[in-house]
Symmetry: C2
């Protein structure tokens, strides 16, 4: 099998920097984790928060700590640092090679979409952002790795896209279309979802937007591991 | 301008895991850093070392510490942890948005190749790996960001490719060809260099191999930041 991950991000219109942070890191026992945080509000303050949260989670994962424990630790840490006054959403998508599973950790009211065997599911069990209360627990789903598995996570920039103009995005419907009709690559799915949100916001995103798409294929390609990054500077 | 980074990695033939670690992280003042370490020997022990080194560097960079200081700290840390008995090579390629420059940090006998204005340069000033001595200093080069800039860094799997069969790879020549004749994308350059090394090793790499290609283009694309990862699982 082959794992593909794509991340597409854009910052709020006219904002100095994105308050969303997404990082991909190797796990000590093989596999990797994508960690995404959206700091409360936008700009520099939000970036500081989301970076702090992602760093904390990454540092803990690197020590072999499990995703759920890392999310709880990040919540307690943010709560303690900011006295419960600042929140962040947190998602972790991990490929755990010990259990051969995809582990989805949500501290985010926004859902994670999951497609297995051509069946699209919305993981939308109520889930709180971190930092506001002691003892905030994440929602965790564990899914056996199998070809065809697709998971899509995003920040609330997608959820609120178009809201200024009385519109909203049906992410599930859009994703279903992309999966069914285009046999799209991971990056294409991430880009199309982001572009759709940008269109609804008329090209001027009203919030930072980040989309993660993770896909497991049955391709037995080469043994090469690849990573690429593209950004405007 | 647009920044493109591509990383291609493969592990030593029949080895459980690669002893090379490469991670890309955001810098607190904008821009990003690619950190690559190759732990002494191969397999699990080497992975442990390279992960430790990369984590240390990333944690320091995240606090705003400059690349050179982070490399020196990582060296002292490894030296102290392992009593000077274990070494690792370390490269950091950073896009620093405060100085609008590419900062290349080398603690690696292997050179870094740099192409500016169609002129290919080999940064091969003698440079020691970290961990063996106190006070090991990196070689640092700082280059103003400009379209057309290309930097290529790699671990010694490239340097020793083919050595078992009495052959060796002329990386400079190969890169010159890729830049001149194919107008190749970043990922294509990384893949082609890696493939050439694999061919010289007859498909069974005698060491872990990692290649990083960083490219600055004059393309004024969209404002979207993209990241993608592909790996066999």
């Amino acid at each position: 099998m082959e794992l593909h991950i794509a991340v597409s991000k854009v910052k709020k219109y006219a904002s100095s920097q994105s308050g969303d942070t997404v990082e991909v890191v190797e796990r000590p026992n093989g596999g990797l984790s994508v960690v995404m945080a959206d700091g409360q509000s936008s700009g520099r303050g939000a970036k500081w928060i989301s970076t702090m949260v992602v760093r904390k989670v990454i540092a803990l994962l690197a020590e072999g700590i499990r995703d759920g424990a890392a999310a709880r630790a990040a919540s307690d840490y943010l709560y303690t640092e900011r006295g419960g006054k600042v929140s962040a959403t947190l998602n972790i998508l991990s490929i755990d090679m010990l259990t051969k599973s995809l582990v989805i950790t949500r501290n985010n009211p926004a859902p994670v979409l999951l497609s297995q065997d051509n069946d699209l599911q919305c993981l939308d069990e109520p889930s709180l952002q971190i930092g506001l209360y002691r003892d905030t627990r994440p929602k965790i789903s564990e899914i056996a790795l199998a070809p065809g598995l697709v998971a899509v996570a995003y920040t609330d920039g997608i959820v609120h896209a178009g809201s200024r103009y009385g519109q909203s995005m049906d992410v599930e419907d859009k994703l279903r279309f992309l999966l069914e009709y285009s046999g799209a690559s991971c990056q294409k799915i991430a880009d199309d979802l982001l572009q759709h949100a940008l269109d609804l916001d008329r090209g001027r995103p009203t919030d930072d937007i980040s989309v993660i798409v993770l896909q497991v294929t049955d391709k037995d390609g080469d043994e090469v591991r690849r990573m690429s990054v593209q950004l405007p500077i």
